[in-house]
């Protein structure tokens, strides 16, 4: 079973560079869960999700230190970025999965890049 590992910044940069100028599918999400304001009435439910956005980026960079990183993808006419990424995995399909989890292991943010569409 594959388990996500703590991000090694140099390795992550190499993986990001691998997709430069290729047509790729991007999954980007962030969420604090549908129950955030149910369990805490001072909390807000916020989230955003895009799956299989077909893009091509000219340049990618991972920045950060310790246990939280930011990744930005520069597009011809725009940008994609995610903040709070701490773990990554290159899965069997060659997809680069990056995510940030809270201390209970719940996913807070994910940025994933693939040369083939993500399933489901």
């Amino acid at each position: 079973m594959n388990v996500m590992e703590d991000i090694q910044i140099d390795q992550a940069q190499l993986q990001l560079d691998r997709f430069v100028s290729k047509e790729v599918y991007v999954h980007l999400e962030t969420t604090n869960g549908a129950y955030a304001s149910h369990f805490d009435d001072k909390a807000y439910n916020v989230g955003a999700f895009i799956r299989n956005a077909k893009v091509s980026y000219t340049h990618a960079k991972i920045v950060g230190s310790g246990n939280a990183y930011r990744v930005g993808l520069k597009l011809d006419i725009g940008w994609i970025y995610a903040e709070g990424l701490s773990q990554y995995e290159l899965n069997e399909e060659g997809q680069l999965l990056m995510a940030g989890h809270d201390r209970e292991g719940r996913l807070m943010v994910a940025l994933q890049i693939s040369e083939t569409p993500f399933k489901y």
């Binding site: 594959n2 999400e29 969420t31 869960g33 999700f49 989890h101 292991g105 719940r106 996913l107």
Partner: protein, 218 residues
Amino acid sequence: MEKHVVVIYPHPDDESFGASGTITKFRQEGVPVTYLCGTLGEMGRNMGNPTFANRETLPEFRKNELIDACNVLDVELQMLGYRDKTLEFESKNEVAEHLLGILDELKPSLVITHYPEHAVHPDHNALGAAAIEAVGRIDENSRPTVWAQAITRTHQVDLGKPDVEIDIAPYFKKKMEAILAHQSQAQGVLGSMSDTSDDMEEIAKERLGNEFFYTWKY
């Protein structure tokens, strides 16, 4: 006695947390139960603790957990194939027609679903509304009863006391077993229900000791 009970919820684990005591009661009476599960919980945040799933592997884990839980509860399972967190954006009419097609075949005497606008998660509210719409399209003479489950903090204030209360104490062991079949979710979900305890069985007994429903009035 009920003839056939159909449970309609959107996520793998809704059946175990929400209605597995009631389901067990019906199964022990010999009543067939079918679970129509809307999605595979693809967007769940709990990835196991310690984490063992990721966004791409979670649906497969949850599908297997769902099958395990349905085996524990001895219920038939149909997966409806929607995507987690998107049910409220689907056409309510199309979802209702989809459900109606299945209900026409199963001919249940009782349908259990979420109470629209009182079920916290947007998928709960949307699938509950579509299920209630579907049942409403069945001819009055053969229309099953609907038990709607409300889980908002204020549902008793808003809706009054639920008219159906199932004491699940005799079925709690089965309920716990069904919840624990959802390995990627059980600990995270129960943990979020309590700040003071990390004993999963204790939290479940306190928070999930009874199952309440409102009989829907058409």
